[in-house]
Structures are given as structure tokens and as C-alpha cells.
């Protein structure tokens, strides 16, 4: 059973995936690369958490998957955001901002 701790992290990962996919449909490897690049290698996405997360999001219908062809002409599974996923991203983003803002405030008061 998952502990509360991983839930938070998992939630963050979900948000990052949704955000990455909000730009364009991507395959799993592309998602991990993209997050790594944008975060300037601060955020390393472990495949071990990436794929379970992708399948979980697909089950919730936030993203949907289709087989397509990659840049080097290989069959690859592409994920894209659904309308439900877009809504979810907006919500997660708002609550993340509330959260960071709150943490920031706590840290600033001494």
C-alpha cells in the first residue's frame, strides 16, 4: 500500500507529465527527456516511475495513447492529453501554486 509520502511525489510526477504532454503528443522516452531538459537536468525521471504513472493516467482518461511512428521510423506509443487531462492539469497547477506559496510564506517568516 502506498504511503502518504509517495502520494505527494506521485502527484507531482503526474502534473509534470501532464504539463509535458500539454505542448504536444509524445512517447514515454520523449516525456522523460523533455522534463529533464526543461528542468535543466534538476528533475530526473526514473523509468520505473514514469511508465506506471503513464498507465495510471491513461486509466483515469487524463491522457490517451496511440501507436505511431517515431522520428527514426520506429513504432512507438504516443501519449496525448485529453480534455479531462487539460482540466486536471489546470487544477493541479493551481493547487501546486497554492502549496508552494504557502510553503514560501512559512519559510519567510522567522
Amino acid at each position: 500500500m502506498a504511503t502518504d509520502n509517495t502520494d505527494v511525489l506521485q502527484g507531482t510526477l503526474d502534473m509534470l507529465i501532464l504539463k509535458a504532454l500539454s505542448l504536444e503528443p509524445m512517447h514515454g522516452w520523449g516525456i522523460s527527456q523533455r522534463i529533464q531538459q526543461i528542468s535543466r537536468d534538476v528533475l530526473q525521471i526514473n523509468q520505473g516511475s514514469l511508465y506506471p504513472a503513464l498507465h495510471r493516467l491513461e486509466r483515469r482518461a487524463w491522457i490517451e495513447a496511440d501507436w505511431g511512428t517515431s522520428e527514426n521510423n520506429r513504432r512507438a506509443k504516443y501519449y496525448q492529453l485529453t480534455s479531462l487531462g487539460k482540466k486536471q492539469l489546470a487544477e493541479e497547477r493551481a493547487s501546486w501554486q497554492r502549496f508552494t506559496l504557502a510553503v514560501e510564506r512559512v519559510l519567510q517568516t522567522t
Binding site: G48, Y51, H55, A61
Partner: protein, 883 residues
């Protein structure tokens, strides 16, 4: 659109892993491979050698199987794995408790089977008629002083001409025609119908065509339409039969079409010929001669209420224009389906209700059984919880276990319903209409399965939830003692068993009343001795036996031949045999014929009998004499009347020597004559219908073509029939014998419908009582087990064994008494609905109700006997130490 798309997507994402496990595993592998290759390519691009890149990528990638497992978790396939494990576990647990399993499975199978069978039968009988736009079809029925009657040709012709709201109005008469030519002569049931009937119904023929307008007018060519069965039997399904000529009743008819059995109306019709009204029927003096049935279709745009109003207006006008024949006559317009199956609706719905109650009892019984089992498993569950099993996991397991007997029982029940529906359709094909192609109704089956399944899940899971709330430690500590939970459970079970008893009592009362009715029916004296009498019918065609002399000559020879048949001790002829429901109602005057009576004349059922008939049937002579050979054409006309007529029309007088005259003239001779005898009443219209006033005329004074031969014989019926066929063939090779049967068979057939209802209801009640007994037994024996300690203490303190046994039986009787009281109240509340099934018994028959109460009390004692015995042998010392 978007929502739909989303839903489909989502369903696919959820379902695909469950359905196509291998497919998604392969997808996952391919996805992983792609990721790895992309990673390797990236590292090569950054300057690593391909080999080093692959090694490092693989290392960084980590254990593939672990996160594959996590992906599977995300799909929900783990649940499936666990479910199948639970099912296996459940199956093993059930096999360890064979008695529980057998009872649960059988109960479910019985409930599902019975309810589905009866519902399927009801559905088959009450389903829409198989014709085009069946709801707009109606029967138009003449009524006389509120009672249904047939319709006269003239009324029909006027109706058809004047009605605007009814289309394709058709008259139907039933006739019998003899098919001769190829093979044995065969008597066929012919529907003589208006040419509009089949096209109005929308019947599509298998071959050829249906009647055309005008084919029922005087002088039209003789044409016939074959029913599918005759076509297959006599013409070996040859489609080329259309256009051929066949001989019917001595006349050639051209076959113009073949219609399927499924679309036969009236249902018994074997062939159709156009109805050409005899000129006599269209004579204004015969407006009162009613023997046609009328059907029609409500015209497009009209409503049945409008048709009703219009037909009433038309008929009222006819009644005032022709008061002599139509006074007191009105009309009824009813949906054709109601008219066809109306009489069966109520009994079938009662059966359906009974089957539903049985299903309810079955559900209650299973619920009860599951609760008993749950009670025995508190310890096991507690241990498993202590070992770390999650609550959701345990609940799921219990539900799955509860499911297993339902799957097995459901499968058995489905099989039982299939067999049962077939059985019913065969057994009742003569007594209930529209069963020929009855099949299991899938909606009913689904309903019954879901109902039992829901019970199973609810009563399988609720105890687990209650257990979970109670917690582990309490159960472990209190194991074997009556804890909080088991008291609540016992209450629930007592309530369930009480309701089972109540429902069983209701079914018992219904069955008891119906059984009593049947006993009354069988005890009815039909007015004749039915043992050892064979009967068969003949119909001398007017084409070859046109005059009275020919009829008399033939029947004289026939009588000699019949007397010589094997084992015959007495014989005679009659138009027609009792229980034939043959209606030959003729108006009459006493003493002298009065042409104008001012009011409608009284009517009497007329029968035509040969001298030997009364003796052959052993119909009791009350006074005077019956016919003799001297009552012939040259002798003065005489009649014999029955007791009902003597009572009704000669109350307190001696009818012998009085004269009665019928509204029936032949060759200028008015039928009737001097009353020379009074005989006992005979049931003509069924055992449950009282005898109407009846008059017998001697055959030789009123010879007619149709007749039923009755012969009392000591030989077996088959031997007599074979000999009779040979004897008649010698007299006339083209004359078929038909309706060969014994009086006993006729008698049984007339009681077949009540017998069927009784058999089913009694079976249901029997099963219900058995289930209630099992339930009672379960509750009592469980409570004995729970109270071992208490009983031990009581015994130690000096209670006698019989005290203890009395307490146990008393517990059972308390539940029984409460259940029985509720059941009796329920039965009283619904009993008025039963009236249609009852004969000679009131719906509140005290005898039946007391018998039921006695029986259920007995069941209460018997069901608690074994547990009570067990209680008496409890060893106080053991009971106290064990705790």
C-alpha cells in the same frame, strides 16, 4: 460526441487489460524496448560507444519486472488474479461443506428454474398476436342480456355495411370437412371465413395466395387454403400443390394457398374455405340464428373506444328495428388478444405470483444459509485479519465465495428453466393456448439470476462488514460465545426464517384451496358412469345421405355392427357426447306452439339420442321411460327431458304427458312432442358447470348427419377402435371415424386445466415448505450450538432433559407461529384474487386454513426435533469446560 468518445476511450483503457492480457503485455514490452533503444541512441549521440551506451542504459533502467508489475497494478489485473484465486478458494470451502453447498445450489436452481419457467410460459401466452399490427385487431362479440353469444349472419352483414371505424370485418364459423381421395379419409377442422379475414390479419402464405375479395360470394368457385400441418402431412410439403384439386365432403375444391401454422387463426383451423352465407341465414326470420364469430381491425385513425361507441349505436338501431330477434342484444368490442387468452390471464398470473414467492423464499433461504456460514467463520476471519489481510480484501473474498454457489445454481436453474418451459409447453399444449413455440424468456432468466445473485452478495458481504466493524480482538476473545454480532445476526436470521414461513404458508393456503377445489371437481357426479365406455364420432355427409330414409338405413346397420364389436354390452348414439361443450340451444313452447310470444321464448339444449344411449351411458331414469325402437318415424313424436328442465319449467307439476314444441321445423314438421320420461342431469359443458335444461329427441324421428357412437365394452379401447374402423369401412369406405376416445379420457381432459394449475401450485407449496423447514432447522440448530453453555448451566442446575427440549422446540414454534400468523393474514388479503381457480370452496375456507396451520406447526416441531435431541444430550461438565 466528445463525452461519448471519452467514455469509449476510458472503457477501452479499463477493459482491454482485463480482456486481452497478452496483447497489453506485448505492448508494454515493445514500449520498454523502444525507450531503451532511444536512450541508447541518445547516449551514442553524446559520444559513447554503442556497447557502452547499451550497458549503461540497461543499468540505469533498473529492474524491468518490478515496474511492469506496477503497470499491471495500474491496469487492475491484479484484482482479476485475486478474484480467480478467491473463486477457487470459495469452491474449495464449499466442497468442504457439501450439505450447505447442495442445499444452496439446489435452492437457487429451484427458485430460478420455477420463476423463469412460469414467467416464460406467461410471456408466451400473453405476448402480442403474430399478425400485422396486432394491437388494432379486435373481436366483435354479440351479447344477450350481458352474456356473450355468437353473431347472426344478418347482424354481421349490417355491421359490416354500416361501420366506419372497423375495417376488414370478417365472420368465422367452424366446420368439419372430410378429405377424401389420397389415402384414408380424414376429418379436418375447417374454418369457414369471410374472404377478408386472412388479408386483414396480414397473413403471408407459404405458397400461393390468400382469399381475394368476392371469393366468399354466392356462386364463386370452390377454393381452399391448406394449413401448414395438413400440407406437410397429406401433401408432403409440395409447393406445387397450389392449383391442384382436392375432394372435400364429396365436392372438388381448388387449392389456392398454404398458410403457416404460426399464423393460424382460429388456432385450431386445419384448412380454410370461404364463408358463403346460406340463403336461409340471410332470411330476416333468421336474424336470431347466431353462430358466427366476428373479428375486425380498428380502422387507421380510429380508436377502439370510437369503434365501441359506433358498434353499440349500430346494434341498438338493429335491436329497435328487429325487436323480435334482437331485443336485449348488444355488442362488445375487445382486443383480440384478450379474447383469445383472457380466460388464462388470471390463472397464469396467479401461477406467476406463486413462482415469484418461491423465488423470494429461495433468496431468503440462501441468505439464511450464508448467515449460518458466516457465523461459523468469525474465528477464521479474525485469524486472517490478525495475519494482515486487509478488510476490503476479506469482504471481496466473502463476496466471491458467496458467488460460487450462485454461478453453479444459476447454471442449473437455467437448465431447469429450459427443460421446465419445454415440459410445460408439451404438458399443457391441449389446455393452454399459444404454447407451441414457447421458449425461455431471457429477461426473466436474467431477472431471476440477478435477484438471487444480489441476495448472495448482500448476505455474503454484510456479515463480513459487521465483522470488520466489530474488530479482531473481540471476536478472538469471544470465540464460541454469543457476542454482540452473533445476537444481531440471530435476529436477522429469525426474521428471515419468519418471513420464509409466512410466504410458505401463503403458498400452502393457495395450494390447499386449489387442491380442495379439485377434489370437489372430481367428486362431481357427471350423471353417467364413465368406466369402460368408448366413443367415436361420425358425420354422414348430406351429399350421400341427403334424406332421412338414407340416414335411418345407415344407422340401423351401424347399430348392429357396433353391438357386434369386441366386448360390447350396450351401445347407442348421441348428438353429442357429454363434456363436449356442444351448444345446441333452441327456443320452445309448452303444450302448443305459439308463433308470437311477445318476449323471447325460453330455450333448451337439444340432444338427439338412439334408444340404447341411456343404458350404454347408465344415465339414471327418474320417471317414465326412455326411447325404444318403437319411437320411429311412424310413431307419435316423443321427448325425454332432464331434471333441470323438469325443475325449471315444470316445478311442482308432473311433466309426463305434457307436450313441448321447439322452434325447429323440418319438412313442415315441428320438432318436439310428448314428454315420456325424465332422466338425471348430465354435465355437458364441463364438470364445473351446472346442467342446463335439456331435451332429448329420438334419432329415428329426427335423423341428422353428425353423431357420436358410445359403446360400453369389456375389451380394450384400441381393439374396439380397430374393429370399429373396419366395420364402418365395410358400410362406407369414404366415412372417417374421428375423435376416438374413452369417456374416461374425455372426463380427464375436461379437468386437465385445473389439474395442471393444482399440480404446479402444490409443487410450489411443497418446495416452499421444504425450504422453510430447512431454514427453521438452520436457525434452531445454530441457536442450540450458540447456547451450549447456557443449556449446560441449566442442566447442571437441575433442568430436566424434556425442559430443555421443550425450550428448543418452543423457540422454533414461536418463529413458526409468528410466520404463520403473517402468512394467514397475507393469504386472506390476496385470496379474493383466487376466485377464478376455485370450485366449491370459499377463498376463506376455514378447513383449508386450519389444515395449513396444523401442517406448518408440524413442520415447526419436526424441523426442531433433531436440534432439540442434540440439546438434551449436552454434557453440562463438557459444555462448561469447553468454553
Amino acid at each position: 460526441m466528445d463525452a461519448l468518445h471519452l467514455l469509449a476511450r476510458r472503457a477501452r483503457a479499463v477493459l482491454r487489460p482485463l480482456v486481452s492480457r497478452r496483447g497489453v503485455e506485448a505492448d508494454l514490452d515493445e514500449e520498454m524496448r523502444f525507450h531503451l533503444d532511444a536512450e541508447v541512441a541518445e547516449r551514442v549521440r553524446r559520444g559513447m560507444t554503442p556497447d557502452a551506451a547499451r550497458t549503461s542504459a540497461l543499468r540505469d533502467f533498473g529492474g524491468v519486472s518490478r515496474f511492469k508489475e506496477e503497470c499491471r497494478d495500474a491496469w487492475g489485473t491484479r484484482m482479476m488474479d485475486e478474484l480467480s484465486r478467491d473463486a477457487r478458494y470459495g469452491l474449495r470451502a464449499l466442497l468442504r461443506a457439501p450439505a450447505f453447498t447442495a442445499v444452496a445450489v439446489l435452492t437457487i436452481a429451484l427458485g430460478v428454474g420455477a420463476a423463469t419457467t412460469i414467467y416464460s410460459v406467461v410471456q408466451s401466452v400473453l405476448r402480442p398476436l403474430p399478425f400485422h399490427d396486432p394491437t388494432s385487431l379486435v373481436a366483435v362479440v354479440t351479447t344477450y342480456r350481458g352474456k356473450d353469444d355468437a353473431t347472426s349472419a344478418l347482424d354481421f352483414v349490417d355491421w359490416r355495411r354500416e361501420s366506419k371505424t372497423l375495417a376488414g370485418m370478417a365472420a368465422i364459423a367452424t366446420d368439419a370437412m372430410t378429405l377424401t381421395g389420397s389415402g384414408e379419409p380424414e376429418r379436418l377442422y375447417a374454418a369457414t371465413v369471410s374472404a377478408s379475414l386472412l388479408s386483414m390479419l396480414g397473413v403471408r402464405p407459404i405458397a400461393g395466395r390468400v382469399f381475394r375479395t368476392g371469393e366468399d360470394s354466392v356462386g364463386a368457385a370452390r377454393v381452399v387454403i391448406l394449413g401448414e400441418a395438413v400440407w406437410r402431412r397429406r401433401f408432403s410439403s409440395d409447393p406445387g400443390v397450389v392449383g391442384r384439386s382436392v375432394n372435400l365432403g364429396g365436392e372438388p375444391y381448388t387449392i389456392i394457398g398454404v398458410v403457416p401454422t404460426r399464423l393460424t387463426y382460429p388456432a385450431a383451423a386445419e384448412i380454410y374455405v370461404p364463408l358463403v352465407f346460406p340463403t336461409a341465414d340471410l332470411d330476416e326470420g333468421n336474424r336470431g340464428a347466431r353462430y358466427y364469430d366476428v373479428v375486425a381491425r380498428v380502422a387507421p385513425g380510429a380508436m377502439i373506444e370510437q369503434a365501441r361507441a359506433e358498434m353499440r349505436t349500430i346494434t341498438q338501431r338493429l335491436a329497435s328495428a328487429h325487436p323480435r330477434s334482437d331485443e336485449g342484444v348488444s355488442v362488445r368490442v375487445a382486443p383480440l388478444l384478450d379474447e383469445t387468452v383472457g380466460a388464462f390471464r388470471r390463472p397464469l398470473l396467479i401461477l406467476l405470483g406463486a413462482a415469484g414467492v418461491l423465488l423470494l423464499i429461495a433468496c431468503a433461504n440462501v441468505a439464511n444459509l450464508l448467515l449460518v456460514r458466516a457465523a461459523g467463520r468469525d474465528g477464521e476471519l479474525a485469524v486472517r485479519t490478525a495475519l494482515g489481510a486487509g478488510r476490503a480484501r476479506l469482504v471481496r473474498q466473502l463476496a466471491t465465495e458467496a458467488l460460487v454457489p450462485f454461478l453453479v445454481g444459476g447454471a442449473l436453474g437455467t437448465a431447469a428453466a429450459t427443460v421446465g418451459t419445454r415440459w410445460f409447453a408439451t404438458a399443457a399444449s391441449d389446455t393452454v393456448p399459444r404454447l407451441a413455440d414457447a421458449g425461455v424468456d431471457s429477461t426473466a432468466l436474467l431477472f431471476a439470476l440477478v435477484a438471487t445473485l444480489t441476495t448472495g452478495v448482500v448476505f455474503g458481504v454484510v456479515p463480513a462488514l459487521r465483522f470488520a466493524r466489530l474488530g479482531v480482538s473481540g471476536t478472538l476473545r469471544g470465540a464460541g460465545r454469543s457476542s454482540q454480532g452473533s445476537i444481531g445476526r440471530r435476529r436477522a436470521r429469525t426474521a428471515i426464517v419468519g418471513s420464509e414461513v409466512a410466504l410458505a404458508v401463503m403458498l400452502l393456503v393457495v395450494a390447499g384451496l386449489v387442491v380442495r377445489s379439485f377434489q370437489h371437481l372430481m367428486a362431481v357426479d357427471p350423471g353417467f358412469r364413465r368406466e369402460g365406455v368408448v366413443t367415436f364420432r361420425l358425420d354422414l355427409p348430406s351429399t350421400r345421405y341427403g334424406d332421412a330414409a338414407k340416414l335411418r338405413a345407415f344407422t340401423a346397420q351401424l347399430d348392429d355392427r357396433v353391438r357386434a364389436l369386441p366386448g360390447v354390452t350396450a351401445s347407442g348414439r348421441i348428438l353429442r357426447a357429454p363434456l363436449s361443450e356442444y351448444n345446441f340451444n333452441v327456443g320452445f313452447s309448452v303444450d302448443r306452439w305459439q308463433e308470437e310470444t311477445g318476449t323471447r321464448r325460453p330455450a333448451v339444449q337439444v340432444r338427439i339420442a338412439s334408444p340404447g344411449y341411456f343404458e350404454a351411458m347408465r344415465i339414471r331414469l327418474v320417471r317414465g321411460r326412455t326411447f325404444t325402437a318403437h319411437d320411429d318415424a311412424n310413431a307419435p313424436q316423443v321427448v325425454v327431458i332432464n331434471q333441470a328442465m323438469a325443475r325449471t319449467h315444470f316445478a311442482g307439476e308432473n311433466p309426463l304427458g305434457r307436450r313441448v314444441w321447439l322452434g325447429w321445423e323440418d319438412d313442415g314438421v315441428r320438432r318436439g312432442g310428448e314428454i315420456v320420461g325424465v332422466v338425471d342431469d348430465v354435465r355437458q359443458f364441463g364438470l364445473d358447470r351446472p346442467s342446463a335444461p335439456e331435451m332429448y329427441l329420438p334419432y329415428d324421428q329426427t335423423p341428422v348427419g353428425p353423431m357420436t357412437v358410445v359403446a360400453r365394452t369389456t375389451a380394450s379401447p384400441d381393439v374396439v377402435f380397430t374393429a370399429a374402423r373396419a366395420a364402418v369401412r365395410e358400410l362406407d369406405p369414404d366415412l372417417p371415424l374421428f375423435e376416438l376416445s374413452t369417456l374416461q379420457e374425455r372426463f380427464e381432459k375436461s379437468a386437465a386445466r385445473p389439474r395442471l394449475y393444482m399440480t404446479l401450485l402444490a409443487t410450489f407449496a411443497g418446495v416452499a415448505v421444504l425450504l422453510a423447514a430447512i431454514g427453521l432447522y438452520g436457525v434452531v440448530s445454530y441457536s442450540v450450538r450458540q447456547q451450549t453453555r447456557e443449556i449446560g448451566i441449566r442442566l447442571a442446575l437441575g433442568a430436566t432433559r424434556s425442559n430443555v427440549a421443550g425450550t428448543v422446540v418452543g423457540q422454533s414454534l414461536t418463529v413458526t407461529a409468528v410466520g404463520a400468523a403473517l402468512g394467514i393474514a397475507g393469504a386472506l388479503a390476496v385470496s379474493h384474487l383466487l376466485q377464478a381457480l376455485l370450485f366449491g370452496v370459499s377463498a376463506t375456507d376455514a378447513w383449508t386454513y386450519s389444515a395449513v396451520v396444523g401442517l406448518i406447526a408440524l413442520v415447526g416441531v419436526v424441523a426442531s426435533w433433531v436440534p432439540a435431541r442434540r440439546a438434551t444430550v449436552i454434557d453440562p461438565a463438557m459444555a462448561l469446560r469447553n468454553d
